[in-house]
């Protein structure tokens, strides 16, 4: 049974999606989605406990050994990612029940939950597989379902945002495909481990260089690194609350995982950092991205949009850590993938609570919410503190390692930029807090109050995670450090 876990990890949510269509009545689709997600979470936890000490599980799908067949290859890094993805969906789905009831027409609920499970399946599949082409297939499963789910937002701009994402996402996936084709043409294999063996002798080949460029640009489009982030702000702003919370916490993170996987495992650190000037390129893009996105966030009047730009900035921090090319930087990146998922998940769920009560997330509608919706706004404040990186929150831990890694390299100007942009984050979080706590609620209009427990509980679980992982870091940092050592050691 336990040896079959890797396959079931993806297949359980995959089977859940069509089951939602068959059992389309009432709350059944939601229940199917919830169960599939919780089972996936339990399996991810089991897998992580098995590979925690640096072991690697290989699973031959169809019984065909790699490189003939498709291989699942689970190490501490992707088990960690799967735990993150399944964990987020397991917390978001209980929230979905009431939130979706309010935001999505009832006769489409079964389609919505089916689509949600497809997003989950796609992201898990991207994380688990050890086959370069199989990655492409699962990228498309997660992307296509995301396009449709984003378009379910009530504002018509959700449609144009989804279309923009569809165009940029497909360009990204096609670039990735071109890259995979090129490395296939010069190596004859698609299996990642096999590629890792066959690429080093031909590092000087121009084809390998072009393949690396196409795969990287394709993934960077997916993870929305500045200036390839143009699809992200509108998509996150106008998507239904649940979809935003799930995607913001996981989608760009799994793309970041792919960047690490292809960079370290497939192409190898020697190629990526010594032959190609990746470090310099990523450093420049990350720094500009962090500064520009944080600044733009300050001037947003829709809080969801503000948080979306903040996400672009956070992606910048994560890529920054990767660009250091040392263990501390890599640890910082991986731990920030986790911490930012918790932080943004909490913040976007708080947005979902406000959308549930007020219907919109415009800044002016926040006036007086500190009194009217104390629990929701308290969650927002804690999440905001974690976003800034205040001590005792998860955000502090990742920024600490990020600064540490920069100093290790002797890049003190980078450390200064990290601190300065944290101040920018403080400014945009403060703008919201000021309106919510120091401005009187409008005299007219309905009196708002905190949403029901079913919405508050998931929000507070993630908010609690922001605090918990700020104090007790042995789990998040522990696994991240192991994953970083594993990647660096494997090169």
């Amino acid at each position: 049974m336990i040896s079959q876990l890797p396959a079931l990890q993806v297949v359980i949510p995959l089977i859940g999606a069509p089951l939602c269509i068959i059992l389309r009545r009432g709350a059944l689709p939601w229940l199917v989605a919830l169960l599939a997600s919780w089972v996936a979470l339990a399996m991810a936890a089991t897998l992580l406990s098995q590979v925690g000490d640096g072991e690697v599980i290989s699973y031959a799908v169809g019984g065909w050994l790699a490189p003939l067949g498709i291989e699942y290859r689970i190490d501490v890094l992707n088990a960690y990612m799967m735990l993150l993805v399944a964990g987020t969906s397991s917390i978001v789905l209980p929230f979905a029940y009431k939130s979706v009831a309010k935001e999505i027409p009832e006769e489409k609920h079964y389609l919505f939950y089916s689509g949600f499970l497809l997003m989950l399946t796609g992201l898990l599949g991207m994380a688990i597989t050890g086959d370069a082409f199989n990655v492409f297939v699962f990228i498309e499963i997660s992307s296509l379902s995301s396009y449709a789910m984003i378009a379910m937002g009530r504002d018509r701009r959700a449609l144009s945002a989804a279309f923009t994402y569809l165009v940029m996402g497909t360009v990204g996936a096609t670039f990735f495909l071109i890259g995979v084709g090129l490395i296939y043409a010069v190596t004859g294999t698609l299996n990642m481990a096999d590629l890792a063996d066959r690429l080093p002798p031909i590092y000087e080949s121009r084809t390998v260089l072009a393949a690396f460029a196409f795969i990287s640009v394709g993934i960077l489009l997916k993870l929305a690194l500045f200036p390839l982030h143009l699809w992200l702000p509108n998509a996150y702003t106008y998507a239904p609350s649940v979809v935003t919370a799930f995607l913001a916490a996981t989608a760009t993170k799994v793309a970041l995982y792919l960047l690490l996987r292809f960079g370290y495992t497939v192409f190898g650190a020697d190629f990526v950092f010594d032959i190609v000037p990746s470090s310099q390129v990523l450093l420049a893009l990350a720094l500009v991205g962090v500064v520009v996105a944080s600044t733009v966030a300050i001037f947003q009047n829709d809080v969801k949009r503000l948080l979306a730009y903040s996400s672009v900035a956070q992606v910048g921090y994560i890529v920054l850590g990767i660009s250091y090319a040392n263990v501390t930087g890599l640890t910082a990146s991986i731990v920030h993938i986790f911490n930012h998922a918790a932080t943004k998940g909490a913040l976007f769920l708080a947005m979902g609570c406000i959308a549930y009560a007020a219907g919109a997330c415009r800044l002016e509608s926040f006036a007086g919410l500190g009194k009217r919706m104390p629990m929701t706004m308290a969650a927002f404040v804690i999440g905001g503190l974690s976003l800034i990186g205040v001590p005792l929150t998860a955000g502090f831990v990742s920024k600490w390692y990020l600064v540490l890694g920069a100093l290790e390299k002797g890049w003190w100007p980078v450390a200064v930029v990290i601190l300065a942009t944290s101040l920018l984050a403080a400014v945009y979080v403060w703008r919201v807090v000021e309106v919510a706590y120091f401005r009187d609620p409008p005299a007219e209009g309905p009196v708002l109050s905190d949403p029901p427990f079913a919405l508050l509980a998931p929000t507070w679980i993630l908010t609690g995670a922001c605090v918990y992982f700020g104090i007790e870091t042995s789990l998040s940092v522990g696994f991240a450090e192991q994953a970083a050592l594993f990647l660096m050691g494997g090169s």
Binding site: K108, L111, F133, A211
Partner: protein
């Protein structure tokens, strides 16, 4: 000989492609894109990919064209003339294309039987697949068995497209309908 036909087909494809960019009548564009797919299918046959050719003809010249025509009847069929000249896209395309040409430089010669892709993995399929799966069509054997998991993903993608189209277009009838007796489609305020 094959190379000559191949090149001729490719040049025709390029001509059709450029015509698609230049034409503003979208009906003509859609018809040309169908022709593009047919030419592409012909090229696939020439390159021994009969299964792919079959599929490209059915999908590109069939489904896609029908869908595009269907959408055209719902929208305007003339493209507007752009206000600005697109410099940035042109630069992007030239850089991307340049990088690809650069990348092709170290590729094995077209049709080279000693290319790495033909020396590793593929020979094992050709030698073993029919014996192990009983299917003379190696493409089917690899598709359904060796890489069956990709195919499960492919079905899931199709499933996703079906769900996505239903999410977007079912119900929410903001429009007048010809056959009002369908019970499961009532107007929605959220639409």
């Amino acid at each position: 000989m094959i190379l000559a036909i191949d090149i001729a087909l490719l040049v025709m494809l390029a001509v059709v492609g450029i015509a698609i960019i230049r034409l503003r009548n979208l009906f003509a564009v859609v018809m040309l894109s169908g022709i593009y797919s047919l030419l592409m299918a012909g090229t696939f046959v020439l390159l021994d990919a009969v299964d792919v050719a079959f599929t490209e003809a059915a999908v590109g010249a069939g489904i896609s064209t029908v869908l595009l025509l269907g959408v055209l009847t719902l929208t305007k069929s003339r493209e507007k003339i752009p206000v600005t000249t697109p410099i940035l896209p042109l630069v992007t395309v030239i850089v991307t294309g340049g990088l690809l040409i650069y990348g092709t430089w170290d590729l094995p010669r077209f049709g080279d039987p000693n290319a790495p892709a033909h020396r590793h993995v593929a020979p094992e399929y050709l030698a073993e697949a029919t014996h192990e799966t009983g299917a003379p069509n190696v493409v089917t054997a690899v598709l359904a068995s060796y890489r069956g998991y990709d195919t499960l993903g492919e079905v899931t993608v199709i499933f996703t497209a079906g769900i996505g189209v239903l999410l977007l277009l079912s119900g929410s009838g903001v429009l007048r309908r010809r056959d009002p007796e369908t019970p499961d489609e009532k107007p929605k305020s959220t639409a």
